[in-house]
């Protein structure tokens, strides 16, 4: 197997927001990861863990507070104006709420065709052809072109968003909770569609979601985030079968399983309490306040994200199975 080409390198990414009175929300704190050409990287975590902010910061929306983001060999954090705009052709985004991310007053053909018009791609006829091709690719009738978003359901609006994101033949698409607003029956359609589009257009995806089942379904590798940090990163099968971080294990234990033979509530709560505030995160390991394995040392020294097994990274002083009985 040849080593996959690294498309995106995120190093020490930090995003902070002012929270008034001189305090800061530490949304993302020193995150490192690579994205390989052609893969789907899942970013999973609970609300407030920084997964969406990480996705957006890659597009420089918002600009990271510090750190580096190298896309295809180019540093994005110091690009401005026209240069940044040009790079963004390659990087597209699909948002959570498909209805509010489409302009209600415009027709579908204008929504999907706008990126083409802005970049002046081809002639008017060629652009119209491209819109028709995209509508067909995402499973919408060509007649949809003349209609407006309110005439479509949530699932169909998400198809329109996907078509718009594909218009400029991007390389990397950041999908921010693209199916969270959809019912399960429609969710499955959109997940299948994303897989098809990835295949057809040779895309690389960063898939942000709180839903562990959805992330497993679409991802090759998965990064688990907690309070602005990546706590574990591994291949999808490996991460779900053999989690090394106590938070990952707790998350996996907490998923409601659609199988009546699995008796929930038999085990005690996987983790107690709520996540702490990102304004004042705990010292040392940020998960230690809820961790069943925490020791005083965890409060003093922050565990680095270390490669414990090939391709399996974990940020924990006492990873699962590594200390018990060793």
């Amino acid at each position: 197997m040849t080593t996959p080409k690294t498309l995106l390198e995120v190093r020490d990414l930090t995003v902070e927001f002012p929270a008034g009175a001189g305090r800061k929300v530490h949304a993302v704190s020193g995150v490192n990861f690579d994205v390989y050409q052609g893969e789907t990287l899942g970013l999973v975590g609970e609300s407030g863990c920084g997964k969406s902010t990480t996705g957006r910061a890659i597009l420089q929306l918002p600009r990271p507070t510090s750190g580096s983001i190298v896309y295809n060999g180019r540093e994005l954090t110091n690009l401005h104006g026209e240069e940044l705009r040009a790079v963004r052709r390659d990087l597209q985004m699909i948002f959570q709420d498909p209805i509010s991310s489409l302009n209600p007053r415009r027709r579908v053909r204008d929504i999907i065709g706008e990126p083409l018009a802005i970049w002046n791609v081809g002639t008017k006829e060629e652009r119209e052809d491209k819109v028709r091709e995209l509508l067909d690719a995402v499973g919408l009738d060509v007649a949809a072109a003349g209609r407006r978003p309110h005439e479509f359901s949530g699932g169909q609006c998400q198809r329109i968003s996907i078509a718009r994101a594909l218009a400029l033949d991007p390389n990397l698409i950041i999908c921010d909770e693209p199916v969270s607003a959809l019912d399960v029956s429609v969710q499955a359609q959109i997940l299948n569609l994303l897989e098809d589009m990835k295949e057809r257009y040779g895309l690389t995806l960063i898939f942000v979601s709180h839903n562990l089942g959805v992330v497993k379904n679409v991802s090759d590798r998965v990064a688990v985030m907690y309070l602005g940090k990546i706590v574990e990163l591994a291949g999808a099968e490996e991460l779900y079968a053999r989690p090394l971080h106590h938070y990952t294990a707790a998350l996996l234990d907490s998923i409601p399983v659609p199988d009546p033979t699995v008796r929930p509530g038999a085990a005690p709560d996987a983790v107690a309490g709520d996540p702490p505030s990102p304004i004042d995160p705990p010292s040392g390991c940020r998960f230690r306040t809820r961790c069943p394995r925490a020791e005083p040392y965890c409060a003093e020294v922050e565990p680095p994200l270390a490669e414990l097994k090939p391709g399996h990274f974990v940020a924990c002083h006492f990873p699962i199975g590594e200390t018990d009985g060793a």
């Binding site: 609970e46 609300s47 359901s153 699932g155 169909q156 019912d183 399960v184 029956s185 429609v186 969710q187 499955a188 359609q189 997940l191 299948n192 897989e195 709180h210 839903n211 562990l212 089942g213 959805v214 497993k216 379904n217 679409v218 991802s219 090759d220 999808a236 099968e237 779900y240 707790a250 998350l251 996996l252 234990d253 907490s254 998923i255 409601p256 399983v257 659609p258 199988d259 009546p260 033979t261 699995v262 008796r263 929930p264 509530g265 709560d269 996987a270 983790v271 107690a272 709520d274 996540p275």
Partner: protein
């Protein structure tokens, strides 16, 4: 009379008159709930599950609503009670937990007053005793430092803590029935499992009956005795929980279960998706509501509506509304 079922819902209909026409939100729903039993009501958005739970509680807007059918709670017809009589039922006999704990708590009232209100009004407790009881209740739903929390306002609590408070309020007066409408949808997954475990503990401890309304089959899978699946305002299948997952008969139930991505499937497993989308409840399709999306539909499905019925391939508690049930060889 203690042998009668706790709750009998008979041919319940709730239609809303709107500018677009009549929305048939709940369209002829019947079921029975015994004391201490838990029933999961599952459906996608717009299936009528929330309107059903509100119709049972009598919490519908006063105007432009067509209500038919009966809701018998311990033999009393709730739909014949006036607002004053219903106030004696709400909280005292039927408790309710809603989806969003921020909007179901009063933002300008201290937690303590919100928990003691029901105790004083329904149970006639003295102030001191009500406060003691409330502190004990908050402690029993897993709120640390309940004395301090009593003096706080809802915004000072996290989402999970707020939902614990609404559960404490709902069970304060010892209701015989607890209706929980998407109680964990607004919560994160680790907090969700805490709250579901709490609801289950309280339900067992107090031998309450519980109706758990949710869009997530995973939430009800291991936690209910029976599950009713709703589609377009009707119950399309109702069965003991285990049987529903192993011997579903309604193609919609099958599709719903199979379209959930599961963590034990390998990555990139193609999901069997249901085509199309749920019907418009102003103009529901003729015949079976699911027929336009159903892979097994035949001619008669498009004009004859199947009744909710049982047959000899399933247990007596299992009913489904389908002419060509899955897993059964076609007869005739």
């Amino acid at each position: 009379m203690t042998d009668q079922p706790l709750l009998v819902v008979e041919d319940l209909v709730t239609h809303f008159r709107t500018n677009r026409g009549t929305v048939r939100a709940v369209d002829g729903v019947s079921f029975t709930l015994e004391r201490g039993e838990t029933l999961g009501i599952v459906g996608e958005s717009g299936s009528g599950k929330t309107v059903l739970s509100r119709s049972i509680m009598g919490l519908l807007p006063p105007k432009n609503v067509v209500s038919e059918g009966r809701v018998l709670f311990e033999g009393r017809d709730l739909s014949s009670l006036d607002a004053k009589q219903m106030r004696a039922v709400w909280g005292a006999e039927i408790g309710m937990v809603f989806q969003d704990p921020m909007t179901s708590l009063n933002p300008v009232m201290k937690i303590g007053n919100q928990v003691t209100e029901g105790l004083r009004v329904h149970l006639g407790m003295e102030k001191e005793r009500a406060i003691e009881t409330a502190v004990a209740l908050l402690r029993s739903v897993g709120i640390p430092e309940p004395e301090r929390r009593m003096k706080q306002f809802p915004f000072e609590l996290s989402g999970g803590m707020r939902q614990r408070v609404t559960i404490a309020i709902a069970i304060a007066c010892g209701p015989k029935l607890l209706i929980a409408d998407e109680p964990t949808t607004a919560l994160d997954v680790t907090v969700q499992s805490q709250i579901l475990n709490l609801l289950q503990d309280k339900q067992r401890e107090r031998h309450m009956a519980m109706i758990l309304v949710t869009h997530d089959l995973g939430v009800v899978a291991g936690r209910t005795d029976d599950i009713a699946v709703m589609y377009a305002g009707k119950i399309v299948e109702k069965a003991p929980t285990r049987e529903l997952f192993t011997q579903m008969r309604m193609p919609y139930t099958e599709a719903l279960i199979h379209s959930i991505p599961k963590t034990d499937q390998p990555s990139h497993t193609r999901l069997p998706a249901i085509g199309g989308r749920p019907p418009d409840l102003v103009n529901p399709p003729a015949g079976c509501n699911f027929s336009p999306r159903c892979p097994y539909a035949r001619d008669n499905c498009h004009h004859e509506e199947p009744p909710l019925m049982s047959d000899d391939t399933v247990t007596a508690d299992h009913a489904f509304a389908c002419w060509y049930p899955v897993g059964v060889p076609v007869r005739g």
